[in-house]
């Protein structure tokens, strides 16, 4: 018995968060003491930032942490690390970040051997997305099949309503419907005006972004593996891991052992195809010895290989890689350059 949608007055957001906290930890975007907006655990709606520019890092770390213990060993005896437990709510995630969760699912939960740690976190989470009314100048979700009011990966989509006095909650999944129903007393019915208003806001948000026409990009990329553009467009790349680590869709990881005496752990941690040692064989041979090959891999993985294997580009257009790149290397420039090739 779920509920499809409802209106919540902004001043009742606190009550909703409290109600959710009865059974789950709630993470939401808050400004920290450094002035960066990041996802942190919250106990009230007080500091939650639902508007403003997107969080500094994507919330993928809530599902796929930088460091995760996979197993413990003592001598030759092995125990699996405990599955993460506890429900949590990711409150106020943007549609761009939410849209990459199904892609992470595809890789990490796909095949016959799903990653149980990632999978458990996904199972334990409720994703409440906040629609984006003011996409930033670096955002380009609509150029990669996304939308500031997109619902992919979300259980509920929230958007401003009634002159911003209220929030319209729309359930996307059954989990979302259950959440709304469980807190029905906080919601009033979403009338036709609210729905129409939402459509108008969505349209305005979409229109506010310039759309890059990336039709046919994959074919151009596939044909351009040897293009000198890979060299000329990547020369200033520093070869750090910022773009991969800050990206909501990047998921490459390393597995290493750490031990003290005979005891230790095997851990999974973030890795980046931009590091030279990512593909380095023990023999010393490196299939991607040059920086341009590594940046090419990043772009090809997201805009060609993923299309072939998962049916979608692995880029949500969140713009973080552009914003946070120490040398302002803009992936959109690379895409445009290849798109424009004859």
């Amino acid at each position: 018995m779920g509920m499809d949608k409802g209106l919540l007055r902004r001043k009742d957001l606190d009550a909703l968060i409290s109600a959710m906290r009865a059974t789950a930890v709630v993470y939401a975007p808050v400004r920290d003491d450094r002035g960066s907006v990041m996802f942190h655990e919250v106990d009230s709606a007080l500091d939650v930032r639902l508007d403003g520019t997107n969080t500094l890092t994507s919330p993928k770390g809530l599902f796929f942490p930088q460091r995760e213990i996979l197993m413990r060993f003592s001598g030759a005896a092995l125990t699996n690390a405990d599955l993460p437990d506890g429900f949590f709510v990711v409150f106020g995630i943007r549609p761009c970040d939410a849209s990459s969760l199904p892609w992470l699912d595809c890789v990490l939960c796909g095949g016959e051997q799903p990653d149980p740690y990632y999978q458990e976190r996904r199972k334990n989470a409720l994703v409440i997305a906040a629609a984006c009314d003011r996409p930033g100048p670096g955002c380009f979700c609509t150029s990669v099949g996304g939308s500031p009011y997109g619902t992919a990966g979300a259980d509920v989509l929230m958007s401003g309503a009634k002159e911003d006095d209220a929030l319209l909650f729309e359930a996307v999944t059954e989990k979302g419907r259950q959440l709304l129903a469980a807190n029905a007393q906080l919601f009033s019915p979403a009338d036709a005006q609210a729905t129409r208003g939402r459509e108008e806001r969505a349209e305005a948000a979409r229109r506010s972004m310039k759309v890059m026409d990336l039709n046919g990009l994959k074919d151009k990329l596939d044909a351009g593996m040897d293009s000198p553009l890979w060299d000329s467009l990547t020369r200033t790349c520093l070869g750090c891991g910022v773009c991969a680590y800050i990206c909501p869709a990047c998921h490459c990881f390393d597995i290493t052992d750490e031990k003290l005496g005979g005891d230790g752990v095997r851990v999974r941690s973030w890795d980046s195809c931009q590091f030279p040692r990512f593909t380095l064989h023990a023999s010393g041979h490196n299939p991607r010895p040059l920086k341009k090959a590594r940046m090419r891999q990043r772009v090809m993985h997201k805009f060609s290989y993923a299309v072939e294997t998962a049916g979608t580009v692995f880029c949500s257009g969140c713009g973080r890689c552009v914003r946070s790149c120490p040398v302002d290397l803009d992936i959109r420039r690379i895409l445009a350059a290849f798109k424009d090739l004859p």
Partner: protein
């Protein structure tokens, strides 16, 4: 700043036309025209996009070691080393001197274009001001005058801010804003040098040991091990970094706090006598970690213990790779004495 940019473009054009250089590393307008970004230019035509403003904060010396790295070559078909022009602020110049001394770039292959500096705008300070003024950090355009910075928001609003408070702390405490030893120095205003009293590094160094450690741990707890600090640093050019070797594995690969603290400690100690406090590491860090007190503390120690500030003198050997018979040894025999 327009005059400076014009001068750079003209000089670049002349150098290319005279066939004196193969490559010029400078700045061009970046994404969304609110900041500049490094650019590699290989012709006079390419030089027309060169720019100069208060967002040209990257230390371009970082690109040199890989340009001059000696790879195995076929006999008879040896590649000549490139002749490279680099646009350099005073801090960048000092990094260049350090690299030249360490044989990472041959002086005779470099044409250094020195630019006196008024200090660069701190992107985070700008974002904080924009947030206060507009509720968002988004900027689509930035222009400047002598005393102010004007930012344009996506909806066309113009926000005027005083320039000096937006300048990076490292720049505000910069003791050497005019590059020395360049091949050509463009006429540009520079800020008065700070006198070195009571900057953030000195303040940090005066705190008690436990406080400094706690502060370091807190700051480093934000680290995600992306290595942007290392990659942005001109004097971090090892092709095999201690942080990533596995024979032996000196530190763990994850962002576990003790491994991460050791990474930063060792990296910063490796910079002793070489770090020019250009703040490239601070600016590159996506998490906003303030590494300056720590790197600066090491630089301060080297100044005090060896009387050496890196980056001025091509002749004097870096203190940490030289050995003199009368060097102190009591730090080994009596480590707890002052």
């Amino acid at each position: 700043m327009a005059g400076v940019a014009e001068d750079i473009r003209r000089l670049a054009g002349e150098l290319f036309q005279a066939g004196k250089i193969d490559l010029l590393i400078g700045f061009e307008q970046g994404t969304g025209s609110y900041r500049a970004r490094p650019v590699f230019v290989e012709s006079a035509a390419g030089a027309e996009g060169l720019t100069w403003d208060s967002t040209c904060s990257s230390n371009l010396a970082v690109y040199l070691p890989s340009l001059f790295r000696r790879e195995p070559q076929k006999k008879g078909a040896e590649r000549a080393l490139p002749r490279v022009a680099v646009v350099a602020k005073a801090c960048d110049m000092r990094s260049l001197v350090a690299l030249i001394k360490e044989k990472q770039a041959p002086r005779e292959n470099l044409f250094i274009i020195g630019i006196p500096c008024r200090g660069m705008v701190d992107e985070r300070k700008l974002a904080a001001e924009m947030e206060k003024a507009t509720g968002r950090v988004d900027v689509t355009d930035l222009s400047e005058s002598e005393d102010s910075i004007c930012a344009t928001t996506p909806d066309g609003r113009k926000v005027e801010m005083a320039r000096e408070p937006l300048v990076q702390d490292a720049c505000r405490e910069c003791r050497f804003p005019v590059p020395q030893g360049a091949d050509a120095t463009v006429a540009a205003p520079s800020r008065p040098p700070a006198n070195g009293d009571d900057g953030a590094v000195l303040q940090f160094s005066r705190r008690a040991d436990e406080e400094r450690w706690k502060s370091f741990e807190e700051e480093i707890s934000r680290c995600i091990r992306c290595y942007a600090c290392r990659q942005a640093c001109p004097t971090c050019y090892c092709t095999e970094c201690f942080a990533e070797t596995n024979r032996p594995a000196w530190i763990g690969a994850t962002a576990e706090i003790t491994d991460t603290m050791i990474f930063h400690i060792i990296r910063i100690f490796h910079q002793a006598g070489r770090c020019v406090e250009c703040d490239a590491c601070v600016r590159a860090c996506p998490m906003g970690i303030d590494l300056r007190p720590f790197a600066g503390k090491i630089a301060l120690d080297v100044r005090e213990m060896f009387g050496f500030t890196p980056g001025f003198d091509l002749e004097s050997p870096p203190p940490l790779i030289t050995f003199k018979d009368d060097d102190r040894q009591d730090f080994i025999t009596e480590p707890h004495r002052g």
